[in-house]
């Protein structure tokens, strides 16, 4: 059997070309945006009319943008931490325990992924107006936890499903408490999935626009 570049069949070559076209189409807008940031003039044109770093320096001169970025960062970190904590507990319960209505609860917990964000934002707006909540950060935190939680749950749960539960059972059989076996056996195996879950939750929270726009004034978070 021949190997190497010389043995490529036309189908593989076509697939490679399509993959590069998709990569180009997907990343070209990002490339254009990044390049326009180096414009010397105050026009957003591509290719730039000269090169400058003035627009990067200009970010620091706009306190509302820096403040919004800080607010979004704190919101994303706190909501991710809460979602990951809830995700670990829920994933363990849904994966390791069998109880009545487990599949229904699983589907319900994943539902924020299916509901359009416009509906989610509007629902939370109506809810917070009804209960009279005047805490913008807490309102947004609640919303972002609801939005990011399904990502944490799905990633952590798929990692738990792939693990062998007999390792935990063996640890318990050797005298470890169930809590100790979780932290010494299960948790170290979950680390890659936790990393992924943190990444997803942070990104989803940090760049959320649609639902967030319902609960905040213009410019409070970085995307809005």
């Amino acid at each position: 059997m021949r190997t190497g570049a010389g043995s490529r069949d036309p189908l593989t070559t076509l697939a490679t070309v399509i993959a590069f076209v998709v990569l180009f189409v997907a990343t070209f807008p990002l490339f254009v945006t990044a390049i326009t940031a180096f414009n010397a003039t105050n026009e957003t044109v591509f290719p730039p009319n000269g090169w400058s770093l003035r627009w990067f320096r200009n970010i620091a001169r706009q306190p509302e943008l820096v403040q919004a970025a800080g607010f979004s960062l704190v919101l994303a970190v706190v909501s991710s931490a809460i979602s990951i904590s809830l995700g670990v507990v829920s994933a363990v319960a849904l994966t390791r325990r069998k109880f009545f209505g487990r599949d229904l609860i699983d589907a319900f917990l994943m539902s924020p992924l299916l509901v359009p964000q416009v509906i989610l934002g509007l629902s939370f707006l109506v809810f917070f107006v009804r209960v009279g909540s005047r805490q913008p950060f807490l309102n947004l935190l609640f919303l972002h936890v609801v939005i990011t939680f399904p990502y944490a749950l799905r990633v952590i749960r798929s990692s738990l499903t792939r693990m062998n539960p007999k390792l935990e059972e063996a640890a318990v059989g050797l005298g470890a408490s169930s809590l100790k076996s979780f932290f010494l056996v299960t948790f170290p195996q979950m680390r890659p999935s936790l990393f992924v879950a943190i990444f997803f939750c942070f990104v989803v929270s940090f760049d959320n626009f649609t639902a967030t726009a319902f609960l905040t004034v213009s410019g409070a978070t970085l995307p809005v």
Partner: protein, 41 residues
């Protein structure tokens, strides 16, 4: 960012976007070194 674009269209927003793109790229590279992209995707 959205309200800023509504009021003025200078490349400041592009600069913020560029920083976010670079940060994301660095994060993916670090994640690849620590965990491995094959475990992430």
């Amino acid at each position: 960012m959205y309200s800023n674009i509504e009021s003025s269209l200078d490349p400041t927003i592009s600069a913020i976007s560029a920083l976010l793109i670079v940060t994301s790229a660095i994060f993916v590279i670090v994640a690849d070194r620590i965990v491995g992209v094959e475990k992430i995707v």
